[in-house]
Symmetry: C2
Subunit: 217 residues, 2 copies
């Protein structure tokens, strides 16, 4: 019985790693679709979001099932409760990747943002991809040092997010309304993607310490 | 023992109602601050968000505590698991109200959006307030008919959200970049507020039916 239970907890962790891997692939594809105006890659990301949604819902069901049958306590309970929260954040990260891909598809064959902002979005995209890869590593190893590193990368994304507004609201901005809308939304999606990774990092820290951390921002 | 447990489950439900009431007050204040450029009301909303964050985290702790001590099954387990998801959505609704208030404060003494968009935002704001009140009612009564009504209101918010982009990207739009950014963000916050209410409505339906619903959008 105990053996079965430990196997189930390992499965929860493995599925979190699997879903985070899907998210990492999607954000890589989405940021490439975005920067290269690659519409078929954008469509791949949009189609793949369903897989992430389904995998997250299945993980939720497994977690609820474990709670009902195994009635875990202490660290085992924390693993299952965290998994429920982490799956919700991963699902939202998939949505952000999808939204970024949708912007690329809407504007095709045009690029989504004007030249002056492209280096900023290239950098934000690289940071999001980097954060997604760190998240896979974090969920695999539960090494809290990686959680700290994700927060640092998120700070860089936040700074770039603010710099997008500085540019769009600055005197040299020559974009049309459509460019302003796209830059605003794209920047917000990139920033939220990283925020969700930080939420997950906090939940992994909770696994280690037992201290539940408020979500607030 | 059983008696204590039932009392604890009632407390979970009561706290959800309390937090949703705080959210309803915040969105009322936020949309008023937004439409009337009322900076002191905006600051109230921003300060009150901490209360929502703390109340949501405390509810999470209670829920985890109940899982550990009472090891609920069947509908009792669904109540506790749903509460964990609902608290996360309520916390985000509080954030959306805060973001709307922050826009009002940033632009003070100017209004946040140009005249041509004000009726649209007034309507979106009223719908969000309406949805928040329905949510309090839903969490109080668990009447799934209200869940359905919330989805209908959310459809109206989505339609208004799209109409904002139609205006901003239309030929008659004369807004500056700052107006375009504000309209984009404000519309997104209003729309997300309603989306989170729909997520909660789905979780209340899960309480009634036992069918876990994917989050995906």
């Amino acid at each position: 019985m105990r053996e079965v239970f430990q196997q189930e907890l390992r499965e929860v962790q493995e599925r979190l790693v699997e879903i985070s891997t899907l998210v990492a692939i999607s954000i890589e594809n989405a940021t490439r679709a975005f920067t290269e105006s690659n519409v078929s890659l954008a469509e791949t990301v949009i189609a793949d979001d369903d897989k992430i949604d389904i995998a997250a819902a299945e993980l939720d069901e497994l977690a609820i099932n474990i709670l009902a049958r195994q009635q875990p306590v202490a660290r085992d309970l924390r693993i299952v409760v965290s998994a429920l929260r982490i799956s919700a954040s991963l699902e939202r990260m998939g949505d952000m990747a999808e939204h970024i891909a949708q912007l690329a598809r809407y504007r095709f064959p045009e690029k989504v943002v004007p030249k002056s902002l492209r280096p900023t979005f290239a950098e934000m995209g690289q940071l999001d991809v980097q954060i997604a890869r760190m998240l896979v590593e974090l969920l695999t190893t539960e090494d809290v040092k990686i959680a700290e590193a994700i927060r640092n990368e998120d700070d860089k994304v936040d700074a770039l997010h603010l710099s997008v507004f500085d540019k769009v609201l600055g005197e040299t901005w020559k974009g049309q309304a459509v460019d302003t809308v796209d830059a605003t939304l794209a920047s917000r999606y990139h920033e939220r993607f990283a925020d969700h990774a930080v939420s997950i990092a906090k939940k992994v820290q909770y696994l280690a310490t037992g201290d539940w951390v408020p979500q607030g921002d």
